[in-house]
Symmetry: D2
Amino acid sequence: MTETAETRPGWFSDRELESIRGRMPVMYVQAVPVRVDEVGEVTRVGLLMRATADGRFHRSVVSGRVLYHERVRDALLRHLEKDLGPVALPRVPASPQPFTVAEYFPTPGVTPFHDPRQHAVALAYIVPVAGDCQPRQDALDLVWLTPEEAADPVVGAEMNDGQDVLVRQALAHVGHAP
Amino acid sequence: MTETAETRPGWFSDRELESIRGRMPVMYVQAVPVRVDEVGEVTRVGLLMRATADGRFHRSVVSGRVLYHERVRDALLRHLEKDLGPVALPRVPASPQPFTVAEYFPTPGVTPFHDPRQHAVALAYIVPVAGDCQPRQDALDLVWLTPEEAADPVVGAEMNDGQDVLVRQALAHVGHAP
Amino acid sequence: MTETAETRPGWFSDRELESIRGRMPVMYVQAVPVRVDEVGEVTRVGLLMRATADGRFHRSVVSGRVLYHERVRDALLRHLEKDLGPVALPRVPASPQPFTVAEYFPTPGVTPFHDPRQHAVALAYIVPVAGDCQPRQDALDLVWLTPEEAADPVVGAEMNDGQDVLVRQALAHVGHAP
Amino acid sequence: MTETAETRPGWFSDRELESIRGRMPVMYVQAVPVRVDEVGEVTRVGLLMRATADGRFHRSVVSGRVLYHERVRDALLRHLEKDLGPVALPRVPASPQPFTVAEYFPTPGVTPFHDPRQHAVALAYIVPVAGDCQPRQDALDLVWLTPEEAADPVVGAEMNDGQDVLVRQALAHVGHAP
């Protein structure tokens, strides 16, 4: 699962975190950024374009760890700001109920989601974004796709770890054909 | 269940609507208006103050019928504008999944909800409102209460038809103590 | 939208119902029957096979009207018994929150759902079924498909009115790839 | 937050777990056991009675950690069996969407939930239980209350860490007055 560097210094050394990652599930939040019209209908889905270490590109949603003593909604906002910049004006949901819980296992096939590094459990939210997005850090770009484009297998093939499934689950939740 | 005059002319005469109301469930939408902070946490709940025919007052949420060939999200926006005015800037939810379905029966006690006039089934949504609210038509005022105040039995006693239960269900859904 | 004859006599004559259908939304429930394993994971999706008037076949979910003074959960059970027989042992959900609301418009393209006869608004639920299913009335058969089969476009093409979208939305909601 | 001994040996020594608990959120599942009638309506809520170290009693829901490489639904079933015995026949939900996410902070007041030992994030589910419950381990008894009794402040006062709020949120979600 894609994750950019934490903006706050962690409470663990890299080595400690590595050790924990092999022994307990790590809690994540994931946000599917969307544009909505006046009546709340999703008109666009935002996907980040990132470069991988080996020089290839892939698309992803906003994603990151929940830190110690951090509320889920604070973690969501922090990762949205980290990936979309300071003036994206994301509307973090009022309810803590996620639209789904995505379980990323180090072993492929247990669920549709997979993370070779760790067992991550992600609370997934749909987040309307009203402002101007300026991808930062390792995100090269943010592309707004129509719901039809976002559900396209060609676009799905550019996502890793089962995130294409997550995007289609998000489309289903907002009433579109996934 | 409180309902203000429809802003569009109906497709039925009053007499026809009366006849149908006694014979099939009528579809409603209900919205609990809320103020949220930067991370989406509900800080205030908005309740309308209305006068009843006999000169008493009661509080209520935004509520109204879904018309023929009207989408649920269009009905929500129409009733929000009708009750809160044109510059309330309501954020109609992206998902059609309501936080609950409130079934108002003409017979008390079937559910916590009751409507002496009809069998109404209401899809209930929590709607963050960012702008300036100017209650219109039969709504005299809109009062913003803290979640604690909104859950108070004294406030609940000022609501009819079980709407106090709906407000507490909404608080529960956004993570507050109902 | 497919609907079998009501098992209770209606409150309207056919002519009255026809007249109302052209003038107000009609409330439906829809159930996607599923088989689940011991930990609740969906292993099969049940689709009814029906014959249309012109001798063709199509697949559909369980579907029907909510009657006057009938609770949504009673309507769900009634239609499940009507379509799946008396010993299907359906587990009607404890929560009234549907996984989605499917809006069937007489005009195609307003939503993914379409019903040439009427404007129907359906509360859609996923219903685990533990017993033996004996399709009745106009349903010729009930076929249990794997989630992968149920999401297949070939199967989807055998469904009308956008019910293939509803089935994929249901799969998304239970954590499968839609 | 109440938690009984894990039934599987942990991957951490007590000392390691203690150290991690002070530095990252720990993932939990919580289940509110309910009895439902034929149409899915909740008729009873099950609360465990436990003894605390100082000889007092308190009530609680089913609760426990998600282990490394364990699916949320497997963790739910494991803790349900641990607390309710092997023949309780719990019906783990088909959807991974929890009815709420309860965030237990070591600092009181951040959320309605509090756990002096750790920062725990619990995915909370309502679980219909059809069989015979035989509380085990540190649970002395399981008492089935009506929804009205479960929402009573006197009963709520016998619960710790904000679990009374969780029970009322669960009641709200299944359509009862919380």
